[in-house]
């Protein structure tokens, strides 16, 4: 790889499709729930493309696209329109997709991210709005299926296409770009970022050129990458494949290749030597969109704190390292978990270590998001306070955390850890009680005078002496007895 990198420069541009989390579809009132609804339940004449039906623009989808574009530092032109992209496919009920061609809702933005401590910026060509297609279900493998079924529940779900400039120079950068982009979409509440279900999809255009050359090489489009890992592996594979072809004096074909995750390679799907002609033309069923400056200003003012700003805040006010801050802010649920844990009293650095270490390792293995875990910030904070008070060792804490993570309810595991280290032995407790009485004469006198409150204080002192390990019920009984 090093030898190759000196001879060729890697050029990657990404096209990310993100569904928008609206209640209803892009051009009709049908529900966007296509994952749990029975096949073709959420359809109507409009999204089925029945003769005579007409589309009506979902304003919320337009708003979400503008919000995304603003978060990606894009320009929002005052005038935009929808176009028809014409092609025949059984998952496309009208024979055309309503999309945007030459006047998208936004263009000329950028996304900044951090790679190994180095700041990077990738240009955003455009963010436009279109409708999703239906889904085909083949009887067996696609090339030998005797029958295929179509589910139109997904047809007409609002879909954003976010096109990057060919500014990315490695698989690492590409993966980091998608992670950042996904975080932004989560932060602004337009997409959950689930790649496996297809809610977020990524295609990559990969090409190589001699280092120092300004011209772009022959590009290959890679599809079917369903995870960050797949994006990384597929691009790595493609860089290697292309450099081998070029290195041996061969020519690359302009084509679309699909990533096969099981076989860990890309497979040619179709040649792009003859570009497909989609015969784009303005959608005559929809009036052009006038995007007023007031509307844009209103959407801009409603933007939440974005990952980059939050990252800065974590570094400056909580003292995290830039690296930890980057990792934490790459997922909205993760950074929210972190901040809640800190708010409950855990030290920032310790909380970050737990979340990015053991917790992430377990989540990754289970392919789960942090907000799907049974461990909540309050549990982590309590565990951290047990460690900090010296009640349990680091090694015990790791075991306890895993037990908490595996359980539906983490509380018993946490309690067990607490119990296992409690001082319940009579001799030890007796010694603590004696010390408390000796050191707090005034409170002892107060209690004797009938102030129940004073005993609480004394028990607290006992807990302090025992570093939280004394059994408070037994200490209570013992102090009453002795005073």
């Amino acid at each position: 790889m090093t030898a190759i990198a000196t001879r060729y420069e890697v050029v990657v541009g990404l096209e990310v499709h993100a569904q928008i989390l609206t209640q209803s579809k892009m051009f009709c009132g049908c529900s966007t729930d296509y994952l749990t609804a029975p096949p073709n339940a959420n359809t109507c004449p409009v999204c089925l493309g029945l003769p005579g039906s007409l589309p009506v623009i979902n304003r919320r989808a337009v708003e979400a696209t503008i919000r995304t574009a603003l978060a990606l530092n894009c320009e929002i032109p005052e005038f935009s329109k929808f176009d028809r992209k014409n092609y025949f496919y059984p998952d496309l009920p009208k024979g055309y997709q309503i999309s945007q061609y030459d006047l998208p809702l936004s263009r000329h933005g950028y996304l900044e991210f951090d790679l190994k401590g180095e700041g990077k910026r990738c240009g955003i060509t455009r963010v436009h709005l279109e409708e999703d297609t239906g889904k085909l279900l083949h009887e067996g493998a696609i090339h030998e299926a005797q029958a295929s079924l179509v589910n139109f529940n997904r047809a007409g779900v609002p879909l954003m296409e976010i096109v990057s400039e060919p500014d990315l120079r490695s698989a690492d950068e590409a993966r980091e770009y998608v992670m950042r982009l996904r975080a932004i979409l989560q932060y602004i509440g337009v997409n959950h970022g689930d790649m496996e279900s297809g809610q977020l999809r990524c295609d990559a255009n990969v090409s190589l050129r001699p280092a120092g050359s300004a011209e772009l090489g022959t590009k290959v489009e890679i599809k079917n990458m369903n995870s960050f890992r797949a994006i990384h592996r597929a691009i790595e594979y493609e860089i290697e494949r292309q450099s081998e072809v070029l290195g041996s004096g061969g020519r690359l074909a302009q084509e679309t290749r699909g990533w096969n995750d099981a076989r860990a390679l890309t497979v040619s799907q179709r040649s792009k030597e003859f570009a497909e002609d989609y015969r784009y033309f303005p959608e005559p069923d929809l009036p052009p969109l006038d995007v007023s400056r007031e509307w844009v200003a209103e959407i801009r003012s409603g933007l939440p704190e974005l990952p980059a700003a939050r990252r800065e805040r974590l570094i400056t006010t909580l003292g995290l390292t830039p690296y930890d801050a980057s990792l934490l802010t790459s997922s909205k649920p993760m950074v929210e978990f972190f901040e809640e844990t800190v708010r409950l009293g855990a030290p920032a650095k310790t909380a970050a270590n737990w979340i990015l270490g053991d917790f992430s390792r377990l989540l990754n293995a289970d392919r789960k998001e942090i907000d799907q875990a049974s461990v909540k910030p309050v549990h982590l904070q309590q565990l951290i306070s047990l460690i900090d008070s010296g009640a349990i060792t680091g090694r015990m804490a790791k075991q306890t955390f895993e037990a908490m993570y595996r359980a539906l309810d983490p509380s018993p595991a946490l309690q067990a850890a607490r119990d296992s280290t409690q001082i319940s032995g009579d001799a030890d407790l007796d010694r603590i009680a004696e010390q408390v009485i000796a050191e707090n004469e005034k409170s002892v006198a107060d209690f004797k005078a009938g102030k129940e409150q004073a005993l609480k204080f004394l028990i607290g002192q006992g807990m302090k002496i025992s570093k939280g390990r004394a059994n408070p019920q037994r200490l209570d009984a013992l102090l009453r007895e002795k005073i």
Partner: protein, 490 residues
């Protein structure tokens, strides 16, 4: 006079006065359909059961004197491009054979609320593409004035039904003249409203930026009444206008005194029958006598309207008709070895020659490398035509011209020459491209065949067009002439 020969307003009065019932009226019209239907072939589908149900319901309303509307109990025909829930709707195409829409067009719903009675779906050129009705995927329509003649198109079935007494009124659709031209050729009134005035929801699309639904009636007042019922904003059609709908009847009889009427010199086209030209000049003189001032105006880009139309309309059609692939509804050829082959077989067998011709024209015009030269150029021409009308309407209130350069021609006369057929619409097409409205009103007979005067008014100036047309009609007897078929059964 037979019931089926009367106007909406006459019949409305008789219904309100309980002189007749809607069921009697509907039966009378069905009797006429039975008598002459196999001669005109105006209908593709007669919805007798539905009509009788609706007539009975209308009679209930009339008896109870509850919510009586101008169209309550009136039998109306619907062009087959309009979707009616649970009623086969084919747009005159074999490819939609068996398609039963699960919903109704907005105009259909509005007529239902009025209490109208639906007689059936009228024959038309396939997907409304044609000027003679010979492009029907099922059978041509015959002109009630002379059965060897075409009724015009594409709303030829609706026109023939009104002209033969097989309907009291009808709805048609007009993309380049498809209401006005057949109205002229069958001696009735037909109006194309301004684009956006009537909802297109549920209209099986030909060319989305040009299609409009409009009334086809015995006289101008009926047209005003029917338009009143269907016009207005529809949230389901984003291209429908939210402008308020004026009361068309309120200004109908105001006359043309003091109005400025323009005569575009370009509308006296080469190839116009001399007798048609003469009738139009007579009509203009008559309106002048009524108190209008007449002046010649110029619409300089009229000569390029037709070529621009035959780029834009087919381009939109090529996309609109892509959905007919046989996989979900309508006709499916069967026998394809894979999905692409099945698409091809279905479309080869399901579409007629003219529809295929236009799909190919439109696909070509939108193709990469040709888009700028054809589609974009045609859109620029369209802008010039819009500007032409705007300029003319700064000088005059309305424009006058022929609707069609000739009277009805013989069946088969132009089927071998698509361009000769396209030239029928040369004076109607500009109004569609120019986003204005137009009405055709009978203005005479040439060799026993009716011809029409076209009145064009600015966008959303329907009341002006109706007012001029009414003034002309009130001063003439042309609209009272009945086709032999309508008279024969009397």
């Amino acid at each position: 006079m037979m019931l089926y020969q009367r106007t909406i307003r006459d019949l409305h009065q008789m219904l309100v006065d309980r002189e007749i019932s809607s069921v009697e009226l509907t039966d009378a019209v069905f009797n006429q359909i039975d008598a002459v239907g196999d001669k005109t072939k105006a209908y593709l589908l007669v919805t007798r059961d539905l009509a009788l149900r609706q007539a009975k319901a209308a009679d209930e309303r009339l008896r109870a004197k509850s919510d009586i509307r101008p169209l309550t109990g009136i039998p109306i025909a619907l062009k087959d491009v309009l979707c009616v829930k649970d009623v086969a709707s084919t747009a005159g195409s074999k490819i939609l054979r068996g398609f039963i829409p699960p919903y109704s067009a907005t105009v259909v719903e509005r007529l239902e609320r009025e209490g109208a009675v639906f007689l059936g779906k009228t024959n038309c050129d396939e997907f409304a593409m044609g000027s003679s009705n010979e492009n029907s995927g099922y059978r041509p329509v015959h002109n009630p004035w002379a059965l060897d003649r075409v009724p015009g198109g594409s709303s030829g079935g609706s026109a023939a039904a009104v002209a033969s007494g097989e309907a009291i009124a009808a709805l048609g659709s007009d993309t380049g003249g498809s209401i006005r031209q057949p109205a002229a050729l069958t001696g009735i009134v037909g109006m194309k409203p301004t684009y956006g005035r009537v909802s297109r929801y549920g209209l099986i699309a030909f060319a989305s930026s040009l299609d409009q639904i409009g009334p086809m009636t015995r006289d101008v007042a009926d047209a005003a009444l029917l338009l009143q019922a269907i016009a207005g904003h529809d949230p389901r059609d984003s291209t429908s206008s939210s402008r308020p709908v004026p009361d068309y009847l309120a200004t109908l009889t105001d006359g043309v005194k003091g109005m400025r009427l323009g005569v575009p010199k370009e509308y006296f086209v080469a190839g116009m029958e001399p007798a048609v030209g003469q009738s139009i000049r007579d009509a203009i003189r008559l309106l002048e006598q009524q108190g209008a001032s007449i002046e010649e105006v110029s619409l300089p880009h009229s000569d390029v309207a037709l070529p621009a139309y035959y780029i834009i309309a087919p381009a939109e059609a090529s996309s609109n008709l892509a959905r007919y692939d046989g996989t979900r509804y309508g006709f499916q050829a069967g026998g394809g070895r894979n999905i692409i082959e099945e698409y091809m077989l279905t479309r080869q067998q399901g579409f007629g020659a003219e529809v295929k011709r236009r799909i190919m024209l439109g696909t070509y015009a939108l193709s990469s490398g040709y888009y700028d030269a054809y589609y974009l150029q045609a859109q620029k021409v369209r802008t010039l035509i819009i500007e032409d009308f705007k300029a003319a309407f700064t000088k005059v209130d309305a424009l006058l011209g022929a609707t069609s350069p000739t009277a009805a021609f013989e069946l088969g006369a132009k089927t071998q020459d698509p361009v000769a057929m396209y030239l029928n619409d040369i004076i109607t097409i500009p109004a569609n491209l120019g986003n204005v409205c137009g009405i055709s009103v009978p203005c005479g007979l040439v060799d026993g065949l009716p011809i029409g005067l076209q009145v064009i008014a600015p966008g959303f100036g329907e009341e002006t067009a109706l007012r001029v047309a009414y003034a002309f009609e009130a001063a003439t007897e042309f609209h009272k002439a009945r086709s032999p078929l309508m008279g024969a059964a009397a």
